[in-house]
């Protein structure tokens, strides 16, 4: 059976888009942000692969086309930025200070938690860049002696967590302003959070795009400082 499935080169792609669309359908029915299509799709695909012992490599090869679209899709975020440029310019100080506050908090809280759990140096470095996009985070982790594969996984999951609970957190803690919501999504959960922010409001999406870029750059700059506090 498995051998037969391996011969179908389009199977991983159809499985991915199919489960994702199922997630979109479920979300429409249930109307809860917790039924996030990414989460539904990942759970279904991972369970399928775990049960059938389907090869991860075959899956990754089959979905290459999708990962190939990631950079172009991210580049397209320039369009909402351009459309909201006036509002962004007017609120630039507030956005930048918000992102900086979030970035410093991220590094400090991570260091604190890693101390609390007595994680070693390598583990801590791998977790430290978890709020920024994979392309930047994995480089920071690798250059400072972290485990790149772990960093990539943690970053993706962080993004999903942010996208999942972001709108609930906004409601509970009364973060109502679209600009504040955008900064929160972009700073805490990078591109994945931004894709969720884009669904909420065009301004939220644009602010989130700007914030994810700024958070990435600020993290890269502050990373050496955070590394001074690493456990031995």
């Amino acid at each position: 059976m498995l051998e037969y499935l391996y011969e179908l080169s389009l199977f991983p792609l159809v499985l991915t888009i199919g489960t994702f669309m199922l997630g979109v359908w479920v979300q429409k029915k249930v109307k809860s942000p917790l039924c996030n299509p990414i989460l539904v799709s990942v759970i279904l695909v991972v369970s399928f692969m775990a049960i059938t012992d389907f090869s991860v490599d075959v899956y990754q090869t089959g979905t290459k086309g999708l990962s190939w679209l990631l950079t172009p899709a991210t580049v397209c975020l320039a369009l909402p930025l351009y459309e909201q440029l006036k509002t962004l310019k007017k609120n630039l100080p507030a956005i930048l200070i918000g992102v900086l506050a979030g970035t410093i908090t991220s590094l400090a809280v991570l260091l604190g938690l890693c101390y609390l759990f007595r994680m070693d140096r390598q583990m801590t470095v791998s977790l430290l860049p978890k709020s920024i996009t994979t392309a930047m985070g994995s480089v920071l982790s690798r250059e400072n002696g972290g485990i790149e594969a772990l960093t990539t996984t943690v970053i993706i999951v962080t993004g999903i967590v942010g996208a999942l609970v972001g709108s609930i957190l906004c409601k509970v803690f009364r973060i109502k302003h679209p600009i504040a919501q955008g900064v929160a999504f972009g700073t805490a959960s990078h591109v994945v959070g931004t894709s969720r922010a884009n669904e909420l409001d065009p301004l939220t999406g644009a602010v989130s795009s700007l914030s994810l870029a700024c958070a990435g750059i600020m993290t890269a700059v502050l990373f050496p400082v955070a590394c001074l506090f690493l456990p031995k």
Partner: protein, 119 residues
């Protein structure tokens, strides 16, 4: 052909981003350079927004789908994660919550202050 043309323009900017990334020795991803280049082109009027808008909105719309495959890679990295599963999960969830709230609340306070001054 309209969509293909728009896709080609977007790909050209992405390619230029990759080219810059390869030239500049900073840990900045190609996509960030691409965003900056595309934004400059739009602001200076070299490129009209309509020239890419249909395809750009489609790509932005399907972005969540593009993260499914990277997330499935968890299976491959399970060996590194499993021994520390609980601490990693706690660290991830707690820090994401705190960062989300701090950045959101700080920004909201500042935006509101600005609004009050203007009012």
């Amino acid at each position: 052909m309209k969509y293909l043309k728009q896709l080609l323009i977007i790909l050209a900017f992405s390619l230029a981003g990759e080219a810059l990334q390869a030239l500049i020795p900073l840990p900045i991803p190609a996509a960030i350079y691409g965003i900056v280049l595309l934004l400059i082109a739009l602001c200076t009027g070299v490129l009209k927004a309509q020239a890419i808008s249909d395809t750009a909105h489609f790509l932005i719309g399907i972005m969540p789908l593009l993260f499914v495959a990277p997330a499935v890679n968890i299976l491959k990295n399970w060996g590194v994660i499993a021994p520390n599963l609980v601490p990693i999960c706690v660290v991830m969830v707690v820090s994401t919550f705190v960062v989300f709230l701090v950045s959101g609340i700080v920004t909201q306070l500042l935006v509101k202050k600005e609004g009050d001054r203007n009012a």
